[in-house]
Amino acid sequence: MSEATMVSTAAETPSPRAALQENLIEVKNLKMHFPVTEGIIVPKVVAHVKAVDGITFNIKKGETLGLVGESGCGKTTTGRCILQLEKATAGDILYQGVNLNKLRNKEMVPYRQKIQVIFQDPYSSLNPRMKIHDILTEPMRVHNIISDSAARDRRVLELLNVCGLSARFADRYPHEMSGGQRQRVGIARALAMDPEFIVCDEAVSAHVVSIQAQVINLLEDLRDEFGLTYLFIAHDLSVVRHLCHRVAVMYLGKMVELADCDELFDNPIHPYTKALLNAVPIPDPTLEAKREHKIIKGEIPSPINPPPGCVFHPRCEIAVDGCSKTIPEFRELRPGHWVACTEV
């Protein structure tokens, strides 16, 4: 990558690029196949849902990697595998060199503190019977981070303050708060553990436009203040462009393209990425009137029985005969720009 593009990529974000040399997370050939069973008494595995099927990427320290794709492409499963909420079928997840997939539950405990998650739905991810204070102190007690209860109370107030909530919310229950406020609690809970890395799984998707912008800004402020690394899973491409340094596009369990944020949005290479970007309407009527709309045909096939060869070939505009036979290699077409397509 040239010096000039580096500067433009970093625009406005305090450039984490310079420090971005060290890999925080390396995911190698990750596979997550869920068995499909038949029979009640003696379940028999009849097929596998290939939710994630051999993906490789890394996330550098301080970086925000966007993971985009449509429903069922495996982006959430990838996040859950990193969080060790799913036991991956195959592949390695290295966190600062330590393979999380090989750790026993007890050995995993210190990493559970460093790796946190913010969920999409602030309605179902907070316990309705717990006060906000208890929701925030529970992880501190479990991990024995702050043993003194007065210090924990102070920490709660500090967390609420950092997330833009006033102190009076500590004594409230989730149902007494709006969606945006609940999401702030979800973010505060993740921060309670002093994490290094946060998986944001559709963390801004459940909100109305004006509240969404508030949550995006909060995530951004926290990233800069605490030097956090994010895996930002989202289906809203505009938000990803705004927040991420690099972006990976997934389709049917495979990674089809990975590049620096502006490079991906300005010069997409893979036909699926192109179609995806074209499908997003831009809030500018004059521009939309000029824009050529190429509508992608068909629907996403089932991950139980994905198409042979390149998984995208049945919907692809530029597919040739070979695409249904050979699985395209994920290759570095330009420096830092990876694509899984033989025809580009």
Binding site: S8, A11, E12, T13, E70, S71, S178, G180, V208, V209, S210, I211, Q212, A213, Q214, I216, N217, E220, H235, L237, S238, V239, R241, H242, L243, C261, D262, F265, D266, A275, L276, L277, N278, A279, V280, P281, I282, P283, D284, P285, T286, L287, E288, H293, I295, I296, E299, I300
Partner: protein
């Protein structure tokens, strides 16, 4: 083009234990034949209720259309008997709902759900209705339409179900289709397919369309005119180009500034609308947007501005509508 639908001072209220919620509070707009009008706004601004009011589908109790006129081809829909209204629904005005998962009946076949309308409104025989249903399914781009007639909604994907909903809406060749968040539950490539389909079919048959959405991009791509709603009122209306390029209401301005753009590199931090939308059961005098507004003046606290013309065809309900030239006014 002649006016198809004319809504005048429509008021819909919900009578709840927490008080009277003025969900729609005196909105007026028109839809011309073959025109696409978008109604945008955030959750709870009354955009769906205003659409349901047109078809008199607001659940009573707790809701009730308490005032106004809805003239469709000259007839006031609010004066019709229930029976007459049933003839209008599906026949003259059709509706496409947000959730294709819940708006199709799960225990009836796709065929039955399409032919029901045809037989009821047009008095077709079974054979005629079946043939027309096959034709309609083909029109909305569903493969093997004959076989689909005997399938149930759970056999189809979300995008396919929304296509079936559109087929049902088109069945009786209505003059107007109201689409309430037709693509919100769908993936972006499927959303593009469905919107393109709706655009092509409405052009082909000259059907007018009211699209209700919170997605500003969808509006920009498909709508001729836009009504922006806030707290039960239309606060700005105009052609899509006017409203997007020179918004004349602080709320529209703020809304446009709070969404990141896909086509531009990241500029600066987003500029969100601070605060929460108001509680519609507890609206005081004055402009409901005032607590979140950067341009508010003293007058805004006591007098609620009416929708007034800024430029021909472009109206805004704001006392400061001509003084919004310096967006942000230093706050960022």
């Amino acid at each position: 083009m002649s006016t198809l639908l004319e809504i005048e001072e429509l008021q819909t209220q919900f009578f709840t234990s927490a008080g009277t919620v003025k969900a729609v509070d005196g909105i007026s707009y028109t839809v011309d034949e073959g025109e696409t009008v978008a109604v945008v706004g955030e959750s709870g601004c009354g955009k769906s209720v205003s659409a349901l009011s047109i078809l008199r589908l607001v659940a009573d109790p707790p809701g009730k259309v308490v005032g106004g006129k809805i003239r469709f081809q000259g007839r006031d829909l609010l004066q019709l008997s229930d029976e007459q209204m049933r003839d209008v629904r599906g026949n003259d005005i059709a509706m496409v709902f947000q959730e294709p998962m819940t708006s199709l009946n799960p225990v009836l076949t796709i065929g039955m759900q399409i032919t029901e309308t045809l037989q009821h409104h047009l008095g077709m025989s079974d054979e005629e209705a079946n043939a027309r249903a096959v034709e309609l399914l083909g029109m909305v781009g569903i493969s093997e339409p004959q076989r689909r007639l005997s399938q149930y909604p759970h056999h189809l994907s979300g995008g396919m179900r929304q296509r079936v909903m559109i087929a049902i809406a088109l069945a009786c060749e209505p003059k107007l289709i109201i689409a309430d968040e037709p693509t919100t539950a769908l993936d972006v490539t499927i959303q593009a397919q469905i919107l393109e389909l709706m655009k092509n079919l409405t052009r082909q048959f000259g059907v007018a369309l009211i699209v209700i959405t919170h997605n500003l991009g969808v509006v920009a791509r498909y709508a001729d005119r836009v009504n922006v709603m806030y707290a039960g009122k239309i606060i700005e209306t105009g052609s899509a180009a006017d409203v997007y390029h020179s918004p004349k209401h602080p709320y529209t301005l703020a809304l446009l500034k709070s969404v990141p753009r896909l086509d531009l590199p990241r500029q600066a931090k987003l500029d969100p609308v601070e605060g929460q939308p108001p509680d519609l059961a507890r609206l005081g005098p004055g402009c409901p947007f005032r607590p979140r507004c950067r341009f508010a003046i003293d007058r805004c606290a006591t007098e609620n501005p009416k929708l007034e013309q800024v430029n021909p065809g472009h109206l805004s309900a704001c006392w400061e509508k001509n003084n919004l030239t310096s967006p942000g006014t230093g706050v960022s």
